[in-house]
Subunit: 268 residues, 2 copies
């Protein structure tokens, strides 16, 4: 059995392209349809109900493009909307939380795991739930870092002021001595160097993009959803705001040129 | 002649309440209908076309509530969408840019004026245009400060790191020796103290909220639009995301309790 339909993937903006990058590497024959809701970004500062509404609209958009499964690349959406999406829709839906949590459990030696993310992600306790389901005796320490997204988008990763803010947010977490830290937002890998430097060599950073792509590969194999094609997959990208800014920042996230980007009126 | 209909006012979020506060003080008998597009905030990082679309939707929402004029309290909307709104709609429409620019020209002694704002506001050159229309020999120096909004919303006005970021953004501007600085974003008054401290005593800060309320008062008088009521006006507030967060932050901006806040599905 095989399925030549595309993989659908959405994010609040550009950050989900880190997941696309991994999908392209691990599943090079699959077609990909990406939706970035750049007109309404960010999600992580908004309420649970609004994030659910936007996520349902994004999923409906992808289903119109006849996708065979949906990857929720946004941590905030995955944290608060995944259950609702799974209840609503028939296609398999996969978020970034569980894969990240499972990888953290594999990596940790002292079972002390830190999680950083947006306000919505941290408030939802989604990472804790998955980590504790995997290991009841694990200790989870969380911190929301609302300034990390604007700092990453401003391109200030290397500035002194960013190091100060990293310290401000992460000092209480560091004091709990975790040996593993989940970067629970697709923007945070852009600040990886500074975070790693502050947390120290003994702390492993988990980037959910890689974990999620592995889970998608497994899901495709388990459900016989692999494309029959042997040629390289095609990708097309949709955004709800203008394409220029998305292309510019997106190419940094994706590590290659973004050619097919189209603006659509909104999530629906 | 008189007109008992309400004044309509919209903003991308909560910042426009600084204008409401001034309207309540200067025009206490007028009713006010406010719309904060909190589900799609911020506007200042989005494209011109998207800001125009959101602004038109917000104006249509206010018109459904039978308002006699519309105040565009958002600097980003005022900068890029005001002309389009004026072309589309019959009611008088007033933005925050012209009043702020006019007040800066009144205050300056050396005709060197600084303007800070979001990327959309600065890119539009709207303040320059109005300042130079008023005085061709004025010199205008601008700087976008994308991190000021998240810093204000995080409540970090008093932190050392905020002082560092203020310095980072404003040092090139300070070197141009302006004697007047327009705070071209409704969030920036929350960082006023730090901005004033860095710019020095010789620099006057212009807060458009006050200037705009004065212009609304004038417009109401010029067009015989004042309410015939002698009792205090009523205000109602609509938001597109949940009301809880808006109420919490909004009361800081407004300086009084926010009772009538309702969630509406979107701008339309």
């Amino acid at each position: 059995m095989s399925d030549k339909r595309a993989i659908g993937i959405f994010d609040s903006g550009v950050g989900g392209l880190t997941v696309v990058k991994e999908l392209m590497r691990q599943l090079p024959h699959e077609d990909i349809v990406y939706l970035g809701d750049t007109a309404r970004v960010p999600y992580g500062t908004k309420s649970r109900q609004t994030i659910i509404r936007f996520s349902v609209e994004n999923a409906l958009f992808l289903l119109k493009h006849n996708v065979k499964l949906i990857v929720v690349a946004c941590n905030s959406s995955s944290s608060v909307a995944l259950a609702q999406l799974k209840r609503n829709f028939k296609v398999p839906i996969i978020g970034v939380i569980k894969p990240g949590a499972m990888d953290a459990l594999k990596v940790t030696r002292n079972n002390r795991i830190g999680v950083i993310g947006t306000s919505a992600t941290i408030r939802s306790k989604a990472y804790q739930k998955h980590i504790l389901k995997g290991n009841r005796s694990a200790k989870v320490f969380t911190q929301s870092c609302p300034l990390f997204v604007p700092l990453a988008e401003e391109g200030w990763a290397g500035k002194d002021v960013t190091a100060d803010i990293v310290k401000d947010y992460l000092l209480p977490l560091k004091k709990k001595s975790p040996d593993t830290l989940i970067l629970g937002c697709t923007h945070y890998p852009l600040l990886k160097k500074g975070i790693k430097k502050f947390m120290g060599k003994g702390v492993d950073l988990i980037d959910s993009a890689m974990s999620t792509a592995k889970s998608v590969k497994q899901l495709i194999s388990d459900n016989s959803l692999a494309t029959p094609k042997n040629s390289n997959g095609k990708s097309c990208f949709f955004v709800t705001d203008e394409t220029t800014q998305f292309k510019k920042i997106g190419e940094k996230f994706l590590g290659r040129r973004l050619s097919l980007v189209k603006k659509v009126k909104n999530g629906l």
